[in-house]
Symmetry: C2
Subunit: 632 residues, 2 copies
């Protein structure tokens, strides 16, 4: 018997690896859960791990693995955990990449954490002062400013809200007070005694579909609570344009849309503050991001002209506005910072994406794709950056999909199909009985249907295949059943319909053609792209391989793809923690070029070609072409 040791470095765990056992088995023993939808049979290809050391002690790459992994991935040490067995005694060091981690998936939805050096706009300072004497009477403000000056803050001025609290605070604190200082410039709050430990900020990503809020402890630089809610504007118009039309109809409508979104942010504020035990008046700063239309509406700016050619935003620089001016119920003297917009359809959220991915800092050419109803795409590096917005619709969020749903318990989030018998396997959120399909599930399903030949490159379901799961006509269209009603809680079959596949084709074609036009503008080929950042609300972590199989983004080696979750929220949190990040955002917005896709002469052709799966021009998708070919 040959035994080995396997080290899971990121988890700080080591397991015994017995002869004949797989890496997946060893991981289970030390409670590391690795995604494997097919149950460890080497079929789904989702249990990818990277062997960093000791590969010589493992059995050679199996045929199953060559079918799931590209040459580049194999060269980089990628293996399937279920298929990799010990061969010689020794130590193996393994990395579990984010996309293979099960426990991490929920957290990753919150977006990547790009480290920033903490330098928030808000600084709390405890100052000990001396009161006036009758011989030398000074005003309260004078005493405070002198005290601050002695602590190296000579340029501060007292804001109105702090001023009206000052006389009482000084006496209640017996001349020791804590001031909340904004940008080393304005005193926005003053409290008796030492309250320096209570300093919070709120970062909010206002998506057209979902609003996500993060309460941060500004002293620690850490998230202390998060909450999210569907965008309450949806009843006024599912897509952005409908909401623009509604808001443009009257001042009252605009106020109404602004009112509901601010109310829902206030609700998230209260929820996060309650769960973290924080008083809302201790929240001294906020950063809001959103696409240009969301930006205009939450600021109360008429978004009408954003939707009319040439689609100018009201403002492209950052906006700083007092919380009480927009009705946000954090400390009323607090400032709300909104990063700049690039264009009418590349808003503050895209700038936040760029902040989070740090694409603008890198020498490597990267592409950032923030998938949503409107998908913002940014291509570039530290030299040149260019952006566009693709009208991709809400399909990737599970909307307009027959059995689509949000990533709630029971949502099918990962799918594989056994090519030998066309039987599916899937994983649901919370491992609950299936109720529907979320965004990542539908991408997986379409990719698996393509790989297994259930659909062809035009997306058409092959009803001639011999499988009871392929139904010729349900509501006049064919479909592929993932879960029979006997197997689920919803009393009907859960299937992917022909129309669902078409929705996904339309959506991914919008995105890919946008990316293609940006590449054309920068004169670059897909293989030159060193990094693909996939952001956005797919519900859960989308499988990067499935996404490339359907042709959603340029075909690059899989290890170059990083799913960054809600990167706009990450960027908002970074701007909350760092004044330098805010400065960078101004620079980014100024530097990013914008391409109006509708005005690009090649858009129509690019879009039409991208409707095929993965693309009409298979030369653009060499890896996918090879994968599909292997299955045939």
């Amino acid at each position: 018997m040959t035994d080995g040791n396997i080290v899971f470095a990121e988890y700080g765990k080591t397991a015994k690896l017995l002869h004949g056992n797989s890496i997946l088995d060893a991981a289970k023993k030390v409670d590391i859960e690795i995604s494997a939808v097919c149950g460890g049979h080497g079929l789904c290809g989702k249990c990818r791990v990277v062997v960093k050391e000791g590969s010589q002690n493992l059995e050679p790459v199996s045929h199953l693995e060559t079918m799931s992994l590209s040459r580049e991935e194999l060269a980089a040490g990628y293996r399937l955990a279920c298929s990799t067995l010990l061969n010689h005694e020794g130590t193996i060091v393994v990395e579990v990449p984010p996309e293979s981690r099960v426990e991490q998936q929920r957290l990753l939805v919150a977006g990547i954490e790009t480290p920033v050096s903490r330098h928030p706009s808000i600084k709390k300072l405890l100052i000990h002062l001396s009161k006036s004497s009758i011989e030398n009477v000074k005003s309260d403000a004078e005493i405070l400013l002198e005290g601050l000056s002695n602590q190296g803050q000579p340029t501060a001025r007292i804001g109105y809200d702090a001023l009206i609290r000052l006389p009482t605070a000084l006496r209640e604190g017996d001349w020791s007070v804590t001031v909340a200082l904004r940008d080393d410039r304005e005193i926005i709050g003053v409290q008796p005694g030492d309250t320096t430990n209570a300093s919070y900020g709120l970062a909010v990503d206002v998506g057209s579909t979902k609003v996500a809020a993060y309460l941060l402890d500004l002293n620690e630089g850490k998230v202390v609570a998060t909450a999210s809610t569907p965008n309450p504007q949806i009843p006024y118009g599912e897509d952005i344009i409908s909401r623009v039309l509604y808001a443009s109809m009257s001042e009252k409508n605009l106020k109404q849309l602004q009112g509901v979104i601010i109310a829902s942010i206030n609700k998230l504020l209260l929820d996060t503050c309650k769960s973290a035990g924080v008083n809302v008046s201790e929240v001294y700063d906020a950063v809001l991001v959103g696409n240009t239309v969301m930006h205009h509406i939450f600021l109360g700016i008429n978004p009408r002209f954003v939707a009319l050619s040439p689609y100018p935003p009201a403002i492209s620089s950052s906006v700083s506005v007092r919380a009480k001016d927009i009705g946000l119920r954090i400390n009323p003297a607090a400032n709300v910072y909104v990063p700049p917009n690039v264009a009418g359809f590349v808003g503050a959220d895209a700038v936040a994406d760029v902040l989070a991915t740090e694409l603008y800092k890198s020498k490597q050419l990267s592409i950032m794709i923030d998938v949503g109803t409107n998908t913002e795409i940014v291509l570039g590096n530290d030299q040149r950056t260019i952006s566009c917005s693709a009208a991709s619709g809400p399909a990737f969020e599970g909307a307009h999909i027959e059995f689509g749903m949000r990533a709630e318990p029971g949502a099918i989030e990962n799918v594989y199909i056994d090519p030998s018998n066309l039987e599916p396997g899937f994983k649901t959120v919370g491992d609950a009985r299936p109720r529907g399909i979320c965004g990542s599930g539908i991408v997986d399903a379409v990719a698996a249907m393509l790989k297994s030949g259930i659909i062809n490159n035009f997306g058409l379901i092959n009803t001639k295949l011999n499988s009871r799961r392929i139904q010729k006509e349900v509501d006049r269209v064919p479909q592929y059943v993932l879960s029979y009603k006997e197997e689920n809680d919803v009393q009907h079959d859960i299937a992917v319909t022909q129309l669902d596949v078409q929705e996904i084709q339309l959506a991914k074609a919008a995105i890919y053609s946008g990316a293609a036009i940006l590449m054309k503008h920068l004169h670059v080929e897909p293989r030159e792209i060193q990094k693909v950042f996939l952001a956005g609300a797919f519900g859960t972590y989308v499988d990067p391989q499935s996404a490339v199989i359907i042709g959603m983004y340029p075909d690059v080696p899989l290890e170059r793809v990083q799913f960054v979750g809600n990167a706009a929220g990450s960027g908002a949190r970074m701007a909350l923690l760092s004044r330098e990040v805010r400065d960078n955002s101004a620079m980014i917005a100024h530097r990013i070029g914008y391409v109006e896709l509708a005005a690009d002469p090649s858009f129509q052709r690019e879009f039409t070609e991208a409707l095929q799966l993965p693309h009409k021009d298979l030369k653009r998708f060499p890896t996918v072409a090879q994968l599909i070919k292997r299955r045939e």
Copy 2:
């Protein structure tokens, strides 16, 4: 018959002066009304004029005139218009000093007009812009800022209220808009088309008794409407300290006092806007002045500590606050500027007084006395300036006086008493039938009673004199009747009681002793004072001679005394018209020294000596001593 020509230069009028006619007669012919309470008999001494040219053509100074006019006044060309007759044919040029003008009196209450070079905080600019093209999309804000930059305003930023109006305004105005720019820095408003002609500001003097508002056209630099109202806080406490106590009791009380004062300012705003045909949203700037307690209350700052030793104000520098933060209903984005405070009892109103009198600019030593419930006194010149506050009470405003009233029609505003028979003559506001006595009337009355021997230097009424007007005991005190009930509309006698005289003594002693202590601090004698500025709400124009006779201010030649009316309001208007004046106010407040009278060891003695009429030490009042002596 010898005829002459008399020129009233300030009026631009010339009259024929017939032999045997007086200057008063000639003035009447050309509708120039000169104050003469005694009807032109040379008794009241109120028809003073200054002969600038041609005195050789007039009869010599009469005995009556030497009784009313000081040596210095006679040397300066002062005559009594009623007693000055033509002697030789020729031209005489006469100046009617402000205190002798009847028609001007009401206007003078509004305060002196010190010329300022117009440079308001608010500037309106018309800009013609070009809209974005699809080839070069710019945000609306970017287009506006570029347009402003092209007009020499490169540093402007867009305020939130302007931003939310910008997209619509640009299109409604077909890319021609008018911006309201504050301090060349912030765009606070944007309107379609050319509205540059509509730019207004509101200056408000918040007195503890009266609130006066002035609506100014900022383009013209002129007052277009004025309005005033009693301070609505009076029911919460007549004097300042009562109001401080009330406001200190709870947050709710403070909000209540702030609420009523802001509501009354809003009412004055609406009244002035209505009468001038101005939209309140076109009022882009405001300056509020008031004593430190009023300042704190209208800003919503707890005034409690201002009333507790060492009486520190919450802030001594100027305050700039947005109109909507304090509920002022001018343009909500407008700024409200409040000049600095010097000390707990020398507030922004005193700084405004100093601005209006320009005392701080002059090489001459001047004293400014702003008479009110608290009387602010400032002594100094361009080298050194010192201030104090005297608790004079409201007697000079007609309060705490048995038959006191505001300067409404029927208020006795000027009084003289014929020394030969102790019969009074008086003039009422609007020449209506008498209803009571206003502030200037009571000062006049007490001075006349002293001059005619009805009261002695202790203020005691001499009940042994032979006059039916002197009544020994009415409500247990003696009094002197000005108007019998048969002669008036109020169904009772209108008299000056012994208690009234005492009130005036207390009030004037507080003021004089404050002035005396300031003089002591600067080591100056009364005769070194080149200018006395008398400001404040006496109802109408107080007679400077009467005021000095009762010993209210240092005895200086009468031509050095200038009644400046509501100088605080004048200073507020100046600050509204000029950014330089605002800069000066900061310098003034910083430079003015403050003397806490209660802490001065000589205060008690000074006060006690000043209780006598005019003063225990007659050497301090040589002119008055001489006047009283002449009458005896």
